[in-house]
């Protein structure tokens, strides 16, 4: 009997935290999404009472005239950031930094890790400075004299590029660390054998290192898709969905806007919750698809000790 209970003792701290900070909140958000709770009726509306529940919020989402725009933005943002930076650039940096001089490799990784550990506010300030109009903006001040660009505020002329760059530079470091680590973990014998066989560096990468990166690649892809899907902080601070109407508004940001900022002097908690719920469902579906496609189940080896 004691043996049967042991696993749950080990799991209990996680279970408590998950119930407190994931499940209960999720259930609350779920219930909220059926209500029209907002600032005006807060404290008056018994939101937990099923009498006040309806599907209106969901109807509102899917009939919203900006719905296609927001969906399109979200897909573009996730796909581009993921492929170009979080996986693509991360892989390139990891492969290069592990093949050049070790110290140089370390230095470059430090540089690429900086965005992740820079205070968010300062990081965004930095990007605004990079994109700034002439003569303040860094990019404009360099390109201007060369006769390139109009000298305008680049966040207004090319907001998406900067959103993807700002997110990508942070996202890339996650994959970079995991991939570099996985490359370093490849037994040196394999690399030696490959060299003895007369393989070029590229062939070693192609036939020895990339196959060894299969699992980290799948993990990073899955993990970062979900991260990007639910992230909005940097977009909020960079463009806040602008500069045009809903030009860079993504799903998570909409949920935030609806629930927590007061358009028309009102925060619509119920409506915002509905946006979140749909996002959670999309996220879960994506996660399940990834797990199926990548056969995550194969990672789960049967324990070789029985609980007596």
């Amino acid at each position: 009997m004691r043996g049967q209970l042991a696993p749950y003792v080990f799991l209990s701290p996680t279970l408590v935290l998950v119930v407190l900070f994931f499940f209960i909140p999720l259930v609350m958000v779920f219930i909220l999404s059926f209500t029209n709770l907002d600032m005006t009726n807060f404290g008056i509306l018994a939101w937990w009472n099923p009498v006040n529940w309806s599907l209106d919020n969901y109807v509102k989402i899917f009939t919203n005239r900006f719905f296609p725009k927001i969906l399109g933005n979200t897909i573009m943002y996730v796909v581009l950031t993921l492929t170009v930076f979080n996986v693509g650039m991360a892989l390139v940096i990891a492969l290069i930094t592990t093949h050049i001089n070790r110290r140089a490799g370390f230095a470059f990784r430090v540089l690429w890790f900086l965005p992740r550990i820079t205070p968010v506010v300062v990081y965004i300030m930095m990007w605004k400075a990079l994109a700034g109009p002439a003569p303040m903006g860094i990019i404009n001040s360099i390109l201007g004299p060369l006769g390139i660009g109009s000298g305008k505020y680049l966040l207004n002329t090319a907001p998406w590029i900067f959103i993807i760059l700002a997110n990508g530079f942070i996202g890339a470091s996650f994959g970079m660390i995991l991939f570099s680590s996985a490359i370093e973990a490849i037994p040196k014998d394999y690399l030696m054998a490959s060299k003895v066989d007369g393989a070029t560096t590229w062939q070693t990468i192609r036939y020895v290192e990339l196959p060894a990166l299969k699992w980290p690649l799948l993990f990073v892809t899955t993990y970062q898709t979900l991260s990007l899907l639910t992230s909005f902080q940097y977009i909020m601070l960079l463009t806040d969905g602008g500069p045009g109407l809903y030009q860079t508004e993504v799903w998570a940001l909409t949920a935030y806007h609806r629930a927590l900022t007061s358009y028309f002097g009102n925060t619509q908690w119920g409506y915002g919750a509905a946006w979140s719920v749909v996002l959670v469902i999309i996220g879960i579906v994506m996660a399940v698809i990834y797990m199926r496609v990548f056969k995550f189940g194969e990672l789960v080896e049967e324990p070789k000790i029985d609980q007596l």
Partner: protein
């Protein structure tokens, strides 16, 4: 401590790792579980240890059913193939770990660890970490750790496989001596039949989770029960030839295209009694084949390969698309390609039913087919 296994089964998913195993190990006995990898021998051992839970059947230590006892409550010591030493602890800490968990008093603990280590000849190495010890020394630490808590049962999981040949031979003897002097009931898993033969008082041969035979080493060697046991025990392995069994002129004959031999009457009669089929598998050990002058030979064969082993030469012969290996006194007097006369020791011929794969020379095996 007597160990009794009754109808023991273990499933991994749908695979039967151990299938209806019945086995009795007497108090103080040294039993080897022998078989190829994946035969269920290690699974059986781990069920004894309390690491695996049986799917069905029972395990008894003495008279007590221990199926549901956790390893801690079974009073066993175990030595692993990988030694399984704790890399972050010194040899002393490794050996004393079981005592520490039993909350044995410090002074007593120190004394017992030192005694056990001295017995294993590693008394001087107790400060070292496993990484600073040689393979053989690590093995001794592992044995000391298993012994220190004075277990009622010792379990060995291929403990010598990772040692080099010379050391293996030495440890083999030491473990056997140790077991005899301590008199602890021991179960020893191995895939090496020489180890099993030399060390164990009885050997249980397993294949595909099924117990093939259980007996004293010489009996297994001289009178193998099944085709599998015959082929698995003995190095170099037994030769097998497909023959026809014939009874005529008051005698019993084995016949193939290339040779015909007459087997002793009592053997033939026993085979007949056991419903020997017309087509039989004949087994003959390499040492029971000898090179003879032409008039004494049973058949002729061509020398295909000569492998000197020192004391003897292992010679492979070919005849009639068949291959047969013989151990001959060294040096072998012949050359590759030469045709030579061979004679089989008819008293040592084994006969198996190729369908049931059982020996037809065992009293009582016949009816079961």
């Amino acid at each position: 401590m007597k160990i009794t296994l009754e109808a023991l089964c273990k499933l991994f998913g749908k695979v039967k790792a151990v299938d209806n195993l019945n086995l009795e190990i007497r108090d103080g006995e040294f039993v080897a579980l022998l078989g190829p990898s994946g035969c269920g021998k290690t699974t059986t051992l781990l069920m004894l240890a309390g690491i695996y839970k049986p799917f069905s059947g029972s395990i008894r230590f003495g008279e007590k059913v221990v199926n549901h006892l956790i390893p801690k409550e079974r009073n066993i010591g175990m030595v692993f193939q990988s030694y399984a030493l704790y890399p972050h602890m010194s040899a002393f800490d490794n050996i004393s770990y079981p005592l520490k968990l039993k909350k044995v008093h410090k002074r007593e603990m120190k004394k017992r660890v030192q005694e056990t280590a001295d017995m294993m000849g590693i008394g001087e190495l107790l400060d070292r970490k496993p990484a600073e010890l040689s393979g053989g020394q690590q093995q001794r630490v592992a044995v000391a750790r298993a012994l220190v808590k004075e277990p009622a049962i010792l379990l060995f999981d291929e403990p010598l496989s990772n040692l080099d040949a010379k050391l293996r031979l030495r440890m083999r003897g030491e473990i056997k001596r140790l077991q005899e002097s301590l008199g602890v009931t021991s179960v020893y898993v191995t895939h090496d039949q020489v180890e099993a033969m030399t060390m164990a008082s009885r050997i249980a041969v397993m294949n595909y989770g099924v117990l093939q035979t259980y007996g004293v080493p010489n009996q297994l060697y001289d009178h193998p029960d099944t085709l599998f046991v015959a082929g698995f025990i003995g190095a170099p392995p037994m030769n097998f030839l497909e023959m026809r069994f014939e009874e005529r002129d008051n005698g019993f004959y084995l016949k193939s295209q290339a040779l015909e031999i007459r087997i002793p009457d009592e053997r033939g009669a026993l085979a007949k009694q056991n419903d020997v089929p017309q087509r039989v598998t004949m087994g003959i050990r390499p040492e029971d084949i000898s090179v003879v002058a032409e008039r004494d030979g049973d058949f002729k064969a061509e020398v295909y390969l000569i492998e000197p082993l020192g004391r003897e030469d292992l010679v492979t012969f070919r005849f009639d698309a068949e291959e047969i290996r013989a151990l001959t006194p060294a040096p072998f007097d012949g050359w590759t390609g030469e045709t030579i006369c061979l004679k089989l020791d008819k008293e040592k011929v084994h006969l198996f039913n190729p369908e049931t794969r059982f020996s037809v020379l065992k009293p009582g095996n016949g009816g079961s087919s």
